[in-house]
């Protein structure tokens, strides 16, 4: 079922977002296709996080429409919205783990809220998710303040995947990970994407991730999506920022 349907699972049209007099996004349009891993890049401060947060409904928009699973989020009532929210998972940049809950409770939290399943299955699912994200089961009873930066990312991914969502939003998932862990993380995202037919919306600056994990790349700049395409399209582009980004010093080792 993965990659079977090429329809857009997220459809953003003419989205305008701003604070006060300042426009962050101006009539931006973007499609995310079902089953793909979309890498989202752009200069710092270009509004990548703003777009993600607007799609997630954490930030108000001035105009435009956002459709997720074919449901227009503007017109959706609370029940429809919450049904949509159960079908996506979010990995925040800093993890956003609940600091007063253990890892186990963090991962179980969304499942416990929505499903009536036994404690045994909940515990098993925690171990399964932790194993999937490459952590040992003993991690389950630690508190977020006792975890390292990389472990926080992994636990946050495990929590984002707790309800086996159809879309996951990853905000800089590999930042702060060592290159080996980052590679494993990309591998993991690809495995899950294949297995679960997952759609991944990934804000990242990791060129390795862009190259190995992403099916398509979207570039944000000048308040719009400058270019959407494959890595080859990015390399062929003559846009100055893209040339600097994909052909610069740091890129050469990866792309060449």
């Amino acid at each position: 079922m993965a990659n079977a349907a090429n329809d857009a699972i997220i459809r953003v049209r003419n989205l305008t977002v701003g604070f006060g007099d300042r426009l962050i996004l101006d009539k931006l349009s973007l499609d995310v296709k079902r089953g793909e891993i979309l890498g989202f890049v752009g200069p710092s401060g270009a509004g990548k996080s703003v777009l993600t947060r607007t799609i997630l409904g954490l930030m108000p928009k001035r105009s435009g429409s956002i459709e997720v699973f074919g449901i227009n989020m503007n017109e959706a009532d609370d029940r429809t919205r919450s049904a949509v929210e159960r079908r996506w998972g979010v990995l925040f940049q800093q993890g956003a783990l609940f600091s007063s809950l253990t890892v186990r409770q963090n991962i179980q939290f969304p499942v416990r809220e929505f499903m009536k399943v036994s404690d045994r299955l909940l515990d098993e699912i925690v171990v399964a998710k932790l194993t999937m994200v490459g952590l040992r089961p003993e991690t389950a009873d630690l508190y977020p303040s006792e975890l390292s930066g990389g472990m926080i990312k992994r636990v946050a991914l495990a929590r984002a995947l707790a309800l086996d969502p159809e879309i996951v939003f990853l905000d800089e998932p590999t930042s702060g990970l060592d290159p080996i862990s980052a590679g494993d993380f990309d591998e993991l995202v690809m495995t899950l994407q294949r297995a679960l037919g997952l759609t991944v919306f990934m804000v990242t600056h990791d060129l390795d991730s862009l190259k190995t994990a992403c099916n398509r790349i979207a570039v944000l700049g000048d308040k719009k999506v400058l270019l959407v395409g494959t890595m080859d399209d990015m390399l062929a582009s003559q846009h100055p920022w893209l040339r600097e980004y994909f052909h610069g010093k740091r890129a050469r080792a990866v792309v060449a």
């Binding site: 993965a2 007063s100 186990r104 299955l121 699912i125 089961p137 009873d141 508190y143 495995t191 294949r194």
Partner: protein, 383 residues
Amino acid sequence: MREPFVNGNPTLEQTPLGAGVALRAAGEWTVHHAPALEKIIERTERSGESGRSSLVIDVSQISRLDTFGAWLIERLRRALTRGDVAPMIAGLSPDYASLVEEVKRVKAVPEPARQPFGPIRAVEAVGRSVAEVGDTLLGLLNMTGSILHALWRVILHPSRFRLTSTVHQLEQVCWRAVPIVVLITFLIGCIIAQQGIFQFRKFGADVFVVDMLGVLVLREIGVLLVAIMVAGRSGSAYTAELGSMRMREEVDALRTMGFDPTEVLILPRILALVIAMPILAFLGAMAALYGGGLTAWLYGGVQPDAFLSRLREAISINHFTVGLIKAPFMALIIGIIACVEGAAVQGSAESLGKHTTASVVKSIFFVIVVDGLFAIFFASIGV
């Protein structure tokens, strides 16, 4: 017993297959059906099919599979494994193969750490709280020493004194606190006067309300009330600020830059509080007297002239100084407790809340204890 195969409900049928048995799974094996799936799996686990020589779990009819479904199949496979003979999983679509492989890596699930039995925990909690009292006192001493040390260094090198920060804190804890402090003490003054007149009238002793109001407000109520308000308003703010700075490693950042957090963060706050408290206590006392006088006039018919001359007879400068002299000490206690609690905040939001609460509760407790000690002291020296 089994749910029929409609709306993608998951099913698991047992059918004979050669010498053995095939378990045919169908439907949606996903999180949305997790409660039903779990029942099916538990029923099959109990049914004891493990004795069969050949057992096949046929998953070809599964329309959707996610981690929950894959894990439950894996759990079934493990439960039905005897010795080295594991059931075969047949008909797995390539899309799901990697997911099933993922859950195979899941090791045995460890038991969560169980809490000890009730009475033992209660005894443990008592022991811990007793030890905490000692820790609190030690923490207070430690912080006092640290503040005195920082103060001594600032006195030796006055250029290290953080004037801007102190003035900023002074604005927060003094200037901005004036309206609420004045309002509340004014109202309390009104209430004391009203109750005094109401009760004293029975003995025809209305006018003594002025004595009561003057002594009570200047000696005790004014400063105590203000101290409690300051503990709730500024002490809690100090704890929350220092605590969240600790959580976000801002305190560590200061230290690595060669600054002493006590000197930079704590000393200006405590100094501001020590300056602010007498001012607030004075304003509070005045507001309470004004409120009392107003009530005495409007409710008790005591003319302002009479009130003032009675007040002049009833109180001496001693009452006033006894009240005000306590203010800086109370400020010191509130500030030190707030800073100790702020420095004790751990990584979690819950811990921040706990220490902010502890800061206010302990401050108020110690303020009242100190007020009592002062009362004994002044009584014994006859002031």
